[in-house]
């Protein structure tokens, strides 16, 4: 057998993701006031969370901020049982798709303070905030059952 030549090629690059003016307002309120904001499209009658500058359906520019509840409904979930370098926590842990009261769209976040066996769709959940906010999505540590 001829020796095959295969070369390890690491790739490392540093980036900074702009969250923009809308994102900055959202993360600032979350960080400083533990307040969760959404954005309403008056034409499509939808409240987006996370908030966005433009409605993807009608492309209207949005500026109608809405304060959302820190409570919502679990739409669906999964429990992670395997370990990989990309996993943010040690297994087992649960991801949920959560729709906050007052919003029409969902976000994906961790479920905490919960036995994976007892999670069920439709369960009511509440955000648990990080003591000192840093201005990113993990200022909500996880959602716990009500």
């Amino acid at each position: 057998m001829e020796e095959k030549m295969v070369f390890d090629e690491p790739y490392v690059a540093h980036y900074q993701y702009s969250v923009g003016a809308v994102g900055t307002k959202f993360f600032t309120e979350l960080r400083d006031n533990k307040k969760i904001l959404g954005m309403r499209c008056p034409a499509c009658h939808l409240v987006y969370f996370p908030p966005r500058a433009t409605c993807h359906r009608c492309l209207a520019k949005l500026d109608e901020w809405v304060e959302l509840s820190d409570e919502g409904t679990l739409i669906t979930y999964t429990v992670v049982h395997y370990s990989e370098p990309v996993q943010p926590q040690e297994p087992p842990f649960a991801y949920g798709l959560i729709r906050l009261d007052g919003a029409d769209t969902c976000i994906c976040h961790f479920l905490g303070e919960v036995d994976p066996e007892s999670i069920n769709i439709g369960m009511r959940v509440k955000a648990v905030f990080r003591e000192k906010g840093e201005g990113n999505m993990l200022d909500i540590r996880y959602f716990k059952p009500l």
């Binding site: 070369f7 690059a13 540093h14 900074q16 702009s18 923009g20 809308v22 433009t54 993807h56 359906r57």
Partner: protein
């Protein structure tokens, strides 16, 4: 038989170094909305959305998927196109092809680059070259050293002097200062240009394209639709894409062999009966990543006879008021959101044909214009646009 396709809407952002006030998606959306407004359409009128960018610059992958929030591709057909520096022209050509095929009557195509997302600017593009052959030697074999060589070679072969490059850079700045969308608008003087430090002789810092954040979008429509909806449709007459064998900037100097720029120009001109380039085409928006490249590339595109470009520059022939304007927008040395840079060439050429370029509208009556794209492993694209459908 292919159908004819026309540009019926053009939009772009005000290009800047940094746009921390918007996300990538919001940046794209600015151009998309501008193009739709220009076409007097809404997103509901669009059947297919194409999209381009060089995702290494942002480190955000599968941009086509999540950028639907900005492009308006939600629940529509379309895909992403990425061919390096030529991404913008490839995407524009793909839009024309999607219409020419008869599959779609209205296609929106958007491209962007948000270079302030990368801590080291364009450096992540170092992933592009072959790791065994050239990736390690980028510091030396990167764009700057080759554009320096374009300068030394050009001077040696044609008798041009350093002042001619300075004239080209001044011309670009004069144009950019009349184009509100341009990124670098510096009000340069000859003295200031000649004070700009050499990165590598004879390439001055001012002669290299900047890192820019910006987006551009076009609306392309079929003949029936364009005639009905657009006051001034700009027709895709033809396009050509040519690759070169050699990976990397070595392709600049094929030493006795024809370059992909020359090959593309030969194909495009012979296919369209263009025998006198400066008569049959009235202006050009070319992808000139460095000032010296404008002189050399223009000759490869036959805008001047070999060794004659600097004489044209000397007499102001390539200015906005000149006999053959080149890059009246200010070109790539003034604005370079890399994944959409080539699309800006097409957009600006279309505006010149429409007569809608405003302050930087060329004085010459433009019936036919050419826009070009240029990519890292020597890949040339040319788009021929016309005012009338013939």
């Amino acid at each position: 038989m292919a159908k004819r396709a026309a540009i019926v809407g053009v939009g772009q952002t005000y290009h800047k170094s940094r746009r921390p006030d918007v996300t990538q998606v919001e940046l794209i959306n600015e151009a998309v909305k501008a193009a739709l407004d220009d076409a007097q359409l809404t997103i509901k009128d669009i059947e297919c959305v194409l999209f381009g960018n060089m995702e290494e610059c942002e480190g955000s992958f599968l941009t086509d998927c999540w950028a639907t929030l900005g492009t308006g591709a939600y629940m529509k057909e379309g895909c992403k196109i990425y061919t390096g520096g030529t991404t913008g022209t490839t995407a524009a050509i793909a839009a024309a092809q999607h219409v020419a095929s008869g599959l779609f009557d209205t296609v929106l195509v958007a491209a962007y680059e948000k270079q302030d997302e990368s801590v080291y600017g364009m450096e992540p593009l170092g992933l592009v070259p072959d790791p065994l052959w050239r990736r390690r030697f980028r510091s030396g074999a990167g764009a700057a050293s080759w554009f320096a060589r374009v300068g030394t070679t050009y001077m040696a072969e044609t008798g041009a002097t350093e002042e001619h490059a300075a004239m080209v850079r001044l011309k670009a700045d004069r144009c950019a200062c009349r184009n509100p969308h341009a990124h670098l608008r510096l009000n340069l003087t000859m003295e200031a240009v000649l004070k700009s430090p050499f990165l590598l002789y004879p390439l001055r810092l001012l002669y290299l394209c900047p890192t820019t954040s910006g987006a551009c979008a076009l609306v392309v429509a079929s003949e029936e639709r364009a005639k009905r909806m657009a006051q001034k449709p700009v027709w895709f007459k033809d396009w050509v894409i040519v690759h070169y064998e050699i990976e990397g900037f070595e392709g600049f100097f094929p030493e006795g062999r024809i370059t992909s720029h020359e090959q593309a120009a030969n194909i495009l001109y012979s296919r369209n009966g263009i025998t006198n380039v400066r008569r049959d085409i009235q202006m050009a928006e070319i992808y000139e990543p460095a000032t010296w490249a404008e002189l050399q590339f223009s000759e490869w595109f036959h805008f001047a006879e070999k060794g004659g470009m600097w004489r044209m520059v000397e007499r102001g022939a390539t200015d906005i008021e000149g006999e053959f304007p080149i890059n009246p927008s200010g070109g790539v040395t003034c604005t370079n959101p890399i994944g959409c840079t080539a699309m800006i060439r097409v957009a600006e050429a279309a505006l010149q044909i429409r007569g809608d370029a405003g302050e930087h509208q060329v004085t010459r009556d433009v019936k036919t214009a050419v826009a070009t794209g240029f990519g890292g492993s020597f890949w040339t694209e040319m788009v021929l646009l016309t005012k009338s459908l013939d």
